[in-house]
């Protein structure tokens, strides 16, 4: 039984070398995962494109050009133009910045909340009842009125404090984060309930390990895989939810393109100009796919039983 999950001196490195941190082992394992490397490369490429894209492609994404509207793909507009003659490529880049930022941050927030509540509820029986009823409450709340209330209460103060762009960013990220952690919490709790009774946790407890240590060293690494799946699904949900929010007039101002909004706006033109919905759809799918592979690799890399094999 090698149930002590994080051995500090075991692993892929030969014993002759100086002791190294477990993260090097994780990295070694991750590097050997082909899918994860391709996914990571893809993801970084997309991030690089949206971050540095405007430096290379400096077309204003909100500039209309009526004579050039609905133009097909060409050198001057690589992905064509939309119904107001705005450059779709520039809009995709601009939209990607917002969508990726919203997707990643909201996903992070929701994972953090979900994992925290799930672990606490699963591990400490006293908290279980209260936290799970809280989860029930959030699952039951109708999303749309909840978002309307959040926008009503917090938009003015947030935009006043941080400016329109940052203010609304914070609002949207917290709105999505606060309304999407419940599933993760329930899944993590279920796993923790089972893990808690396993021999290695019992052993750790018997040797007097503090709950905090047990959770971080023994429990968390073992609930990584549902968390990773939630993360991959979560980023797609966050990007789409953002588009639903913009669609309802609760999101960014209408002159901020986001992938979700571009996809949404493209749907009525699906028959004439399929590209308009295709490109943002493809971009969202690619991000989700690449994160999925990264997640797969990370999960394997973090699993001490696989690592070193």
């Amino acid at each position: 039984m090698t149930d002590t999950p994080v051995p500090t001196n075991a692993g892929a490195s030969p014993p002759s070398q100086a002791p190294r941190s477990q993260w090097w082992d994780v990295w070694d394992q991750f590097r050997s995962h082909k899918g994860a490397m391709v996914g990571a490369a893809f993801f970084l490429a997309i991030v690089a494109l949206v971050v540095f894209g405007p430096l290379i492609w400096d077309v204003d994404p909100t500039k209309t050009n009526i004579r050039e509207r609905n133009a097909p793909m060409s050198l001057s507009a690589p992905l064509g133009t939309d119904q107001l003659g705005r450059d779709i490529f520039a809009r995709m880049i601009e939209g990607g910045r917002i969508s990726l930022a919203v997707g990643l941050t909201a996903m992070g927030l929701s994972l953090l909340l979900g994992t925290l509540i799930g672990v606490l509820a699963g591990y400490f029986r006293r908290l279980d009842g209260v936290l799970m009823r809280l989860t029930d409450l959030f699952l039951a709340l109708p999303l749309l009125p909840l978002l309307l209330v959040m926008v009503l209460l917090f938009r003015e103060p947030l935009t006043a404090a941080f400016g329109i762009e940052t203010g609304i960013f914070i609002l949207i990220v917290s709105a999505i984060g606060v309304t999407s952690w419940m599933q993760t919490a329930r899944i993590v709790r279920g796993d923790v309930l089972a893990l808690k009774e396993r021999e290695f946790v019992l052993a750790a407890r018997a040797t007097g390990t503090t709950p905090a240590k047990i959770i971080t060293r023994h429990v968390l690494p073992n609930v990584m895989s549902p968390i990773m799946v939630s993360a991959t699904l979560g980023i797609a949900t966050a990007i789409i939810t953002e588009s639903a929010l913009s669609f309802l007039g609760l999101g960014f101002p209408p002159d901020f393109p986001t992938w979700g909004r571009l996809l949404n706006d493209g749907v009525p033109y699906l028959q004439q100009y399929p590209g308009r919905a295709f490109w943002p759809g493809l971009a969202i799918s690619l991000v989700v796919l690449s994160i999925n592979y990264v997640g797969d690799g990370l999960r394997d890399a973090l699993d001490p039983r696989i690592r070193g094999r």
Partner: protein, 335 residues
Amino acid sequence: MLTFTIRRLLFAIPTLLFIALVIFLLLELAPGDPMANVPLTVPAEVKEQMRIALGLGEPMHIRFWKWIIQFFWIEPLNVFDALFGTSFAEGKLRIISWQNRAPVFIAIAERIPQTLWVVGTAYVVAILIAVPVGIYSAYKQYSVFDQAGTFVTMVGFSVPPFFSGVLVIIIFAVQLKWFPSIYDTTHVVNSWDAFLFQVRQMFLPVMVLALQITSQLSRFMRASMLDNLQQDYVRTARAKGLKERAVVLVHVLRNSMIPVVTVIALGVPSIFGGAIITEQVFKVNGIGQLLITAIQANDLPMVQTLTFIFAVLIVLFNLLADVLYGILDPRIRYD
């Protein structure tokens, strides 16, 4: 386990009352007005009178109390009357929708069949596909099947139904003309042909919904199977000389079901909740569409009632999931 279940059920009552109150306050706080859909040509004074006729003039706590009484006493009485032909509820005011000033349960009863047909079928189809796909992709990790499965499920999940729904309509209804694009809720299945028509009109929405649910479910199934396939007990079981089939389908599967059971149990209430966007795209007009139109029209009694029923289902199915955990993994104890 029984005492646990009973204790949880008893605890559910105050929880649900609290949830009802939170929903009520949330809806009160949300901006919006039941008169928003009345044309601008109707003057403000008239709208005010209409609001008063809806009972909006009364203070908040009285309206909440009235709703509680109506939901827990008058509506059950009505059900009793309908079943046994009595007239206990006569003359008592039921929960009235603000959109049409008719009892909300009339509308809910009209909507349940199509929602169960479409969303329920999609759910069953999705589970039937997702569980085997998840098991097999995990068992043959990184095989061609697994890679293709990953690709399809990820694309399926990241493409929202407002896009995929319209896309399948354009391909299968407009171009190929194989399926209708608009669901007929008045259709009665009373013959083989009628049944075929029902299958045809359900096909597209079920397909779109099932893709979405399958994607999610099969990911969790696969991840959980992968976790368990690496465990020592699997090695032990194999070493004991158990058949591979028995190892995977009995030992590993049972232990892998915990996160999947959660996802499935959380999903069942959402069958009742309907699929808002998919119902909208295919005009299924089920519970989801009822909820979204009620929210848009600020029909608070309707939204309150629907979300509360939804909350009851969530609490019940989460309890069920907890009981199932105990059955799947005897080590889990709640007492």
